[in-house]
Symmetry: C2
Subunit: 446 residues, 2 copies
């Protein structure tokens, strides 16, 4: 099917004017949007879909994910970050297998697509498995193979191997797939390793996805060792000279924010993780005011439990309102901008995230005819405050339906549940080893 | 149908031992639970329902509601509390009609039942309409007719009329309906009126549902006028000598908390409203530690936008973790206790809120076979952090199904959507009047 016409929809464009169109049309030809608002006279639709009472928005992006970590969902709850890492997650990860990543990422994709997430920036292991799953699912993704770069060598995968991984997948699946470097963080990578990664990244034109400034302790340690904050260090070592996603960036100074803005760094803000683990309040309003592209991430299910970007939007708002005692902050469509348009930019999909002619046909349809949407005084409030994953009726990426009327069209849900269940049983049957204990810091460290 | 057997379920009892039973049975005879765990040998089931992969919990209670206020959903967003009241809600309410309450509360009931809410403590106007809707819907409710008790007389309804209302409905619908007094708040009721309400309440054995200590400003005003906090004032004037629900109770002192505990007062904590309007952080952990019964409320849709108690649970947790920098607080089933068991107690339904023999068959069934629940390492985490309204498959109150497989059995959804839409159009067609401007205080007052 090449030409699709959506009509009578409420269309939330997320364009610069923040236009919300009523009873409007959206014309799609192949993978692209050709018109928004009025239907062009010369547009011959192969299919016309009436969307009365429905809302169309750009699809959501999960800008910081460890998607396959669904295996850790609810595994080590209600403990301080340090214990959660060392006694929970890293112990469980000692039993990680390629099988688990294969099925884990597919399970995650079911949850993401069903909730209107069309793309994710993944940062994990066995990433060829993830890439293959992205190809099959029809989603977009920007994939980084996580590397713990210690003195004297990398753990798991080397820099040249990472380069091979990136080259293998960059631009695959008609451009739905992108790949980048994934050095874990300044606290789990040596200074030398970070500088080497940066130099290869710049030379080869490869982006970087990294964690930084998750706890005040990490910042103090960095200041003690380098006389620089983690953000200043990454900047100094050249990591920001390429397209970069910094996950978390919670404990950041005004100088850090100026660096992030000037270097066009993308920040992936992960409210569920930050709030559940009491990690602190990212200065998101200051970042946005300075022009930093702040997107939203659902992180790994071990810390966030759910891959629900609607929830991340709401938590991003209430976190700031509580911290600043200001009920006007991040109002209207601001949270959706972060989740959709800023997310597309963070993942480096420059033709996605806005509903406008020439952009990719990447969109989701919300069923606002349901009781809990009535009355529709504010489309923005309906999206940000009423919408849950189950309200997403349809999902389209590059003109292809990934979900229609809540039915997944690219993933075999029953087979994935079965495959995941077997991989999970295998994982839990293994004796759990002990990862090296890392000092990550965190609230109420014990 | 008189005897129902649920089998192979995960049963979250919320009993004093916090028992979670696996592959367990729950036997229901008429409106009561007769066995939990093993099926009694002499139990002859008329219907046997296999719940493999499903979770059964007590139904949720919305302990502070203005249910019919769905008409204000998304109406006046992102503004300080004072402006929201005076320029938004109270202006819109000048066009309130009996018709709107009739349809508004029914629309709210669709949303509540669909999200697993089986009862609500309502505080509003035209309450006979609400009572009639409760009778029809099969829900439980404890209804209070809101009164603004000024010097020289009440607005809208008098104390004797409220007594008549209570007597008309107390214990109706086989005990599903309860009723109480609804003086608005210390700041909108005169001292004399509060004392008179208390004396009638005690004499007639009628409970009280009231707002208090929503803002620091209200506390300051009360201290200036009476040399007592609002909680101390209510206690002093005798309001706590009967069954009482205090909504909000945000700005409370250790002395206030001791009073609330000693007087067995129920606090309705409303996280969505408190966070969206930056009203402050209720000392919930201190209240729970002192033995105060803290339940959760979704308030009116004008301030909360949604009647989603799962969201209220999560927000209750993250609010405290952020404020106290402590990721261990309110873990496990604590949020569900507040939403279900504590809610039942707040509404004075003493045989609800726990799954145990002799208790009412008030329960909900969660479909945990879905992808976003896998793997089920923690039932508590699955309920608190994974569950959204659409995951509730079935709802039972007093042994009667209100929803089966997402189909509402007591409410005509299409007719309600139509009736509400007409009432809403009527409301918006009226010239909006101007309520008396009240000084409610609030964050960033302007």
């Amino acid at each position: 099917m090449s030409n699709i016409l959506l009509k009578n929809a409420t269309i939330v464009t997320l364009n610069d004017q923040n236009d919300i169109l009523s009873r409007a049309s959206l014309a799609i030809s192949e993978d692209r949007i050709v018109a928004v608002g009025e239907t062009p006279a010369d547009f011959h639709a192969d299919a016309i879909i009436d969307l009365s009472g429905k809302i169309v928005t750009p699809g959501l992006y999960n800008a910081h994910a460890h998607a396959a970590m669904v295996f850790a969902r609810g595994y080590a709850e209600d403990m301080p970050l340090e214990r959660w890492f060392n006694e929970g997650i890293w112990k469980l990860e000692s039993a990680l297998s390629r099988e688990m990543v294969r099925w884990g990422v597919r399970l995650a994709m079911i949850e993401m697509i069903r909730g209107g997430v069309i793309g994710f920036a993944d940062h994990y292991f066995y990433m060829d498995e993830v890439a293959q799953a992205v190809v099959e699912s029809g989603m977009r993704a920007n994939l980084a193979w996580a590397v713990f770069g210690h003195e004297g060598g990398e753990v798991g995968i080397t820099v040249p191997e990472t380069v091979d991984f990136v080259k293998r997948w960059q631009g695959a699946a008609n451009g739905r797939l992108r790949a980048m470097f994934g050095p874990h963080s300044p606290y789990l990578c040596s200074d030398e390793f970070l500088a080497r990664t940066a130099s290869v990244a710049v030379r080869e034109g490869i982006g970087v996805h990294i964690h930084a400034s998750e706890t005040a302790h990490q910042v103090q340690t960095s200041l003690a060792e380098y006389d620089m904050t983690p953000i200043e260090l990454l900047h100094d070592r050249g990591l920001f000279e390429t397209h970069t996603i910094v996950a978390h960036a919670i404990h950041t100074t005004p100088v850090d924010i100026a660096i992030l803005a000037q270097s066009d760094v993308n920040v992936a803000h992960c409210p569920s993780t930050h709030l559940r683990y009491a990690m602190g309040v990212t200065p998101v309003p200051e970042m946005l005011a300075e022009g930093v592209n702040v997107a939203l991430g659902a992180d790994g299910a071990g810390s966030s439990v759910a891959y629900n970007l609607w929830r991340e939007m709401r938590l991003a708002v209430v976190m700031q309102r509580q911290a600043r005692n200001d009920p006007t902050i991040l109002g209207g469509l601001a949270p959706l901008h972060m989740a959709a348009r800023n997310g597309a930019r963070a993942l480096d999909f420059r033709s996605s995230g806005i509903l406008a002619p020439g952009y990719q046909a990447d969109l989701i349809i919300i069923d606002a005819t349901q009781a809990h949407y009535q009355p529709l005084h504010s489309v923005a409030a309906a999206l940000v405050w009423n919408t849950e994953p189950a309200d997403v009726q349809d999902v389209m990426v590059a003109g292809r339906w990934l979900m229609r009327d809540r039915q997944l069209l690219t993933l075999d849900e029953a087979a994935i549940l079965e495959g995941f269940s077997a991989a999970m049983a295998e994982m839990m049957s293994k004796p759990l080893g002990q990862f090296k204990k890392y000092d990550v810091g965190g609230a109420t460290d014990q």
